[in-house]
């Protein structure tokens, strides 16, 4: 009985996930053994979870609608970045006339990025409908191509605000500080409180929860249910009168929008907007996080998103100080373990999906 349960648990949970969970527990024990500052670790874990949460959540509509993990979520990220820069530029142009507060700017950035994200999402979904069966590979390269074409665009877009443009030469800066406009940590600091030494970024977590709730709601709407059915079994759904291609476009668009909002949440928490190479490899982190949470390339839920984000980002937060506690020579260990875990878990999910 117990053995059966254990076996069932193993098949459901998967070896890769078990190793990762074991590694996380090991890191936590080590953190206690080395007497690291647990409060600080918890604080930064919470912040990191909220920071990445929406980006990881962006995987959910994509997987549910049947296009698989959205390796091209960098498209959404780029839309979010355009929104952010345009909002900053607006604040600069209006400077002296109207002073926009941080909160307004954050909302403005979201609003500006939405039309871009919707249009991009529709076009991207249209493309993915034409390449069924190879979505992951093509999404990756569409993402890479768009990030690299935007590198050229950043050089030419007419942003003139001094915090963005280089004082001499062409283009916007590689990293734009948000400190001057009062957007830095605006969500993190909203209603934040301390439990002992642990700072709880209430606003950030609430925003993540709100987004999760919206997605949950959408998944239970008529459109959402049709979308899930289309993702689960396209042929059957087609026979049942669901427009599979349309569902996939909706899922992709939704994912792109979440990507755009996700990067804005990320940037306000980080305090900087990262352009150029910045969005290149972000999708892989989000994909790995949702897979670690228990999703497969064909099935995902909000629990997977939350668990995965907590586990993967928790590991990243704890790994570095633990590695540092060994010796200083192990400093790069945090980054190395991230690479191995992140890509290992994606590989594992690819082998589990089986052949065509």
């Amino acid at each position: 009985m117990l053995q059966n349960l254990a076996a069932k648990f193993m098949t459901n949970f998967g070896l890769a996930r078990l190793i990762i969970l074991g590694f996380f527990i090991f890191l936590c024990i080590m953190a206690v053994v080395f007497q690291l500052d647990i409060a600080e670790l918890l604080t930064s874990s919470l912040a990191r979870i909220g920071m990445w949460g929406v980006l990881v959540l962006a995987m959910l509509p994509a997987i549910s609608s049947g296009i698989g993990p959205n390796f091209g979520v960098s498209l959404g990220i780029l839309c979010g970045l355009v929104g952010a820069l345009t909002a900053l530029e607006t604040a600069f142009r209006l400077g002296g006339v109207v002073e926009l507060s941080g909160g307004v700017l954050f909302l403005l950035a979201i609003i500006i990025s939405l039309p871009f994200a919707i249009l991009t999402g529709i076009a991207y979904g249209w493309l993915l409908n034409r390449v069924k069966g190879s979505e992951m590979m093509i999404a990756t390269y569409v993402g890479f191509s768009m990030v690299s074409i935007m590198k050229i665009a950043w050089l030419f877009l007419p942003y003139t605000s001094p915090e963005m443009a280089w004082p001499i030469g062409r283009g916007v800066r590689v990293q734009i500080s948000l400190a001057g406009r009062g957007i830095t940590r605006i969500l993190n600091n909203f209603l934040s409180f301390n439990i002992g030494d642990v700072v709880v970024p209430t606003g950030l977590l609430l925003f993540f929860a709100l987004m999760c709730f919206l997605v949950w709601l959408f998944m239970r709407s008529k459109t959402g249910i049709a979308m899930r059915a289309a993702g689960d079994n396209p042929r059957f759904s087609e026979a049942a009168g669901i427009n599979v291609n349309r569902s996939r476009i909706i899922g992709t668009t939704f994912s792109t929008i979440l990507g755009a909002i996700g990067i804005l949440v990320y940037a306000q928490s980080y305090g900087f907007i990262q352009l150029y190479e910045g969005p290149m490899f972000m999708p892989f982190v989000a994909v790995a996080a949702v897979l670690i949470g228990g999703a497969s390339v064909k099935k995902a839920s909000i629990t997977h998103v939350v668990v995965g984000t907590a586990l993967f980002l928790g590991i990243q937060v704890v790994a570095i100080p633990v590695a540092n506690a060994f010796t200083t020579d192990w400093a790069s260990m945090g980054e190395i373990s991230r690479k191995i875990i992140q890509n290992g878990v994606i590989l594992y999910a690819l082998t589990q999906a089986g052949g065509d």
Binding site: V131, G133, I138, K151, D329, S332, K339
Partner: protein, 439 residues
């Protein structure tokens, strides 16, 4: 379902008119034609010195061709573009580090690298092939992610273990803390030009000197000897006297011209054509041609065309696929060694990362697709891709006053061409499947 439908199709073989043929040629070679135009435009805009261009393109072709050729076999076996060649590159690079540490220089050092890297990359290829068999249909994304994964393992070994658990006492190679290989490794005075210019290390700088005139002289001798041997062995008689005479005069003229170039130290001495490296590249081309005619090569082709049909006709599909990846991996490791001995120095943790991207992009620019690739496409692709690499920074500077634009542009081109080719191929496949199913 699919196999039932793939009965011999009745195709209407009607003669194409000239116009139709031209349109078909254009659509089939769209990417290549676009690049020819792009390179020509870039070349004109950049206003480059043609001689400098030739210098650069010849050097780039001799160091990159082998790597790009290593991609052909998996394409034939139906596994798409093998992004996992990065693993082979890592293996080659690892061996270069160790052989440099052991202090073995020149051609013997390169040969030692080749001998030692072969079993290592065969092993890596075996594992990769097994992985690909578990992710059939998703080999390319699996290969891409595998390369990222392997990068983590590689860093773990060379940043954390070498110098510590793996002993290596070398002040030049190891960081001052005693653990981890430095971020750049310099091969100067060691393995640099080990294959390109073996005579350099042995104090005979003119032996196989990789300049155009010297290569020409050695090449002419090689052609004459090869021709005579061929006549003797296969035809069993000497060629006629006039043809010998004409041949000798032509050879003499070439040698005479080359000798003048060498004596007067003209610009021709600056064109570097590493003879030995090109012999190796040509041997690989011949091998690929030869291999495609063997039983195994034919099996690979059948597996590539249709896995299910191949399995029904008694081919061990999984085994053939693993072998294809193993071969590709071994070639990639050799190719990367050739690449780095020519570069002379490399970034320990970065120089292999872009190998997959650039090699795949080059192959596709030559006109290859996910399911078809030939030697001439590979070589043409290397030429066009690197020609674009050479001209785009100066074209960017001329057009926008900023070389950065050109550099971003060529990276975009690499990603973009892969994305477009993959998308077109997937679309075509989807349409074909729909046709077959009669949807």
């Amino acid at each position: 379902m699919l196999t039932q439908n793939s009965l011999p199709e009745v195709e209407e073989h009607k003669r194409l008119t000239n116009k139709e043929a031209a349109i078909q040629f254009l659509t089939n070679n769209m990417v290549t034609i676009m690049f020819v135009v792009l390179v020509l435009a870039g070349f004109l805009v950049a206003g480059m010195n043609p001689f400098l261009f030739i210098l650069d393109i010849v050097a780039r072709m001799s160091r990159n061709s082998f790597l790009v050729l290593s991609l052909i076999i998996p394409v034939v076996a139906g596994m798409g573009l093998n992004f996992s060649i990065v693993l082979g590159a890592m293996a080659g690079q690892a061996l270069l580090i160790f052989v440099t540490h052991w202090g073995i220089t020149g051609l013997p050092g390169i040969l030692l690298c080749i001998v030692l890297v072969t079993p290592l990359s065969m092993f890596l290829g075996y594992l990769t092939g097994k992985l690909f068999n578990k992710a059939k249909g998703q080999e390319m994304i699996a290969g891409l992610i595998l390369a990222f994964f392997a990068q983590g393992i590689y860093e773990l070994i060379f940043l954390q273990l070498v110098g510590g658990i793996i002993p290596m006492d070398n002040r030049v190679l190891i960081m001052s803390s005693g653990i981890g290989v430095r971020t750049t490794v310099d091969l100067t005075g060691g393995l640099k030009y080990g294959l390109d210019w073996p005579g350099q290390i042995w104090g005979m700088p003119n032996l196989l000197r990789p300049t155009f005139p010297w290569t020409l002289i050695v090449g002419v001798i090689a052609v004459i000897v090869g021709f005579l041997v061929y006549r003797f062995v296969f035809k069993g008689r000497m060629p006629s006297l006039p043809s010998i005479g004409a041949g000798l005069v032509a050879a003499g003229l070439i040698v005479y011209w080359s000798a003048i170039q060498i004596q007067q130290e003209t610009m021709m001495m600056m064109v570097r054509i590493p003879l030995l490296t090109w012999i190796v590249i040509l041997t690989l081309c011949l091998f690929i041609v030869f291999f495609s005619r063997t039983k195994l090569g034919q099996d690979m082709r059948s597996v590539g065309q249709d896995r299910h049909v191949a399995a029904v006709s008694g081919i061990q599909v999984d085994r053939v696929r693993v072998i294809a990846i193993m071969m590709s991996m071994v070639m990639a490791s050799w190719g990367h060694i050739i690449f780095l001995q020519n570069m002379g120095a490399f970034s320990t943790y970065g120089s292999h990362e872009q190998i997959g991207l650039y090699s795949v992009a080059a192959l596709l620019i030559g006109g290859a697709t996910v399911s078809k690739a030939t030697i001439s496409q590979a070589l043409l692709g290397v030429f066009l891709f690197h020609a674009l690499f050479i001209v785009s920074p100066s074209a960017g500077r001329q057009l926008f006053g900023d070389a950065q634009v050109g550099e971003y542009f060529r990276v975009f081109v690499a990603y973009g061409v892969i994305g477009i080719t993959l998308a077109l191929h997937a679309w075509k496949k989807l349409l074909q499947r729909k046709d077959q199913l009669g949807v």
